[in-house]
Symmetry: C2
Subunit: 345 residues, 2 copies
């Protein structure tokens, strides 16, 4: 049985959607047990509105809440009894196997990094997101934890993303693309050129630089980028479908023939919506910390929460962190040679 | 009469599409005269395939060509008789009023910056792109000239974008948004926080930070960003429609009912395609250099070339650069106070 601590108070629609998603996960996945963390009364009240099969949800009290707008590091240091801090402490004490939160992203990153520490050899954690493409699914790292990564950090993001694509997306030899402003090796900043070199000399299946458009085409299984551009692009992707639908339906309503056409197309449209729905992908793992932590969007629906919990269970079951450590070890010599070379320059 | 020098050899489909676009511009816009620059035989051969009304195209010889993959600064220094270098020299000598090229972007930026110099007070040039939104059109600066702008440079991009939105997009009091990873003032890097402060204290209509999704929503008339994220996002935008159409038609072809529906929707779809078509917007002005220079995508169609030439004429007619210099002058005191403050810290 895999135990997942769920931050019951985190997210724009907490505790309502979080509890509903947790209940659905508990009922749908026989190998999961949920520890709902937060204010007792609020969680009990929500829990009473649902039917949980087989007592697979327990509540753990946390009296405080970190708000969505609070300063990450300050709040995590001050509010020792917040739902996110208690979740992470449960993981630290190994009373649970994973943590899922839809609360303040910065607080989750800071809390996990400070209290759990990093996996051996890892320099900085990165947030990963699974993104639907024309060819299936890709993973992008980082999408918001590290706005100015070094070339070595970008390289380690590739190592972690590759492990994720192998273990969770079940890809045999995932391809790695470095997000840049052109395909040529000479493009971009010094940091990107150095990361390109590290990737090319590694044992990874590096396919070179990729461009903005490749977020949709699925050219690379793993998209490596800094947290700033990753975050901007992620938020664009999320809005593309929504915006397209608004534009299209506005246009279709202009005359009865196209309205009929739209009605006939409906089944195809919902199929597309499902394929490209971020709710299906479920949450963003914080890779590189010593523990399994999934961060969901603040606006997550119950379905998104359920799927994020599923991914957390999957990461534990497949021992993702063991694979990451192995991958980092395999490339440790390369990184230290690179550092020595840079020091000589 | 406004004279526009057109780089006849620049672009993936040069000289064919460039000449066709130039001919269309000459025929469609009575106030424009085109100086086609490049290899005589190649240009004459293409020109002979079209009918030009009223002799509004002349040819100027340039024997060399800068390839799309060549190093920008090196090629501009070495190939003094390349089509792009000759175009810029014509502008420098005021024999033309503007330059349009679909060739090597880096060479165009380097050539224009080195030979024309910058407008008084401007620190770095920026590439601007007009982007279709749900509410009409916005302008984004920078999309590739400056990968690591300072806060002062970002601020000047706002001043230039605002002038463009007023003069060319004819907006009364254009709103300015700073592309960031969250709306709060505290978000992003130190440089972005400083740019936020400069913008807030200025006379501009600054609406704060905007996020990736706002590229489509049209929340801001002017989107200010560094050239790296701007370029990535631009290339994503360009592919969104194309990719959506592939996904949608693949899905619609799965059964006869949705195929009929799709056929009925066709007129609405072409209307959307027209609204969101980058060909309509026409080229990317290089703002901040002392002269009017428009850079078009290497894959530009004849229609895109025609529209880029139209925009070049528009910029000259509306005296955009005079407005930019005025705007920069109006904010010069603010920038120098800011610099003095920073020096004291």
């Amino acid at each position: 049985m895999i135990r997942v601590a769920v931050d019951g108070m985190g997210g724009d629609y907490a505790p309502q959607f979080v509890v509903e998603g947790a209940v659905n996960a508990a009922n749908d996945f026989p190998n999961l047990e949920i520890v709902l963390v937060g204010q007792l009364n609020a969680l009990k009240r929500e829990l009473n509105r649902h039917k949980v099969l087989g007592g697979k949800i327990v509540i753990e009290e946390a009296t405080e809440v970190v708000g969505m707008g609070e300063s990450p590091v300050a709040s995590i240091k001050k509010k020792k009894n917040s739902s996110i801090a208690v979740c992470i402490d449960l993981l630290k004490r190994k009373e649970v196997d994973a943590v899922m939160t839809a609360g303040n992203t910065g607080a989750a990153v800071a809390g996990a990094t400070l209290r759990l520490g990093l996996l051996p050899g890892i320099k900085r954690p990165g947030i990963a997101i699974s993104t639907p493409t024309m060819q299936g699914i890709s993973i992008a790292v980082d999408v918001g934890a590290n706005l100015n990564p070094s070339s070595e950090e970008l390289f380690q993001y590739a190592l972690m993303a590759e492990s994720y694509a192998r273990c969770i997306h079940r890809k045999k030899r995932p391809s790695i693309g470095l997000l840049n402003i052109g395909e040529e090796e000479s493009k971009g900043t010094d940091i990107l050129r150095e990361a390109y070199k590290l990737l090319r000399e590694s044992q990874l299946n590096f396919i070179g630089n990729i461009e903005g458009r490749d977020f949709f085409t699925g050219k690379a299984d793993c998209i490596i980028c800094d947290g700033f551009v990753g975050n901007v692009v992620l938020k664009m992707c999320e809005s593309v479908l929504e915006t397209s639908m608004v534009i299209i339906s506005r246009e279709l309503k202009k005359n009865p023939v196209t309205m009929l056409g739209a009605w006939l197309c409906k089944p195809a449209m919902s199929s597309i919506r499902k394929q490209t729905n971020y709710e299906e992908a479920g949450g963003a793992p914080l890779l590189g910390v010593d523990g399994t932590v999934i961060i969901s969007h603040g606006i997550s629906s119950a379905k998104a929460i359920r799927n994020a919990i599923r991914v957390a269970g999957d990461m534990v079951e497949k021992n993702l962190n063991t694979h990451i450590v192995e991958q980092v070890n395999n490339h440790a010599a390369q990184l230290s040679n690179h550092a020595a070379e840079k020091a000589r320059e």
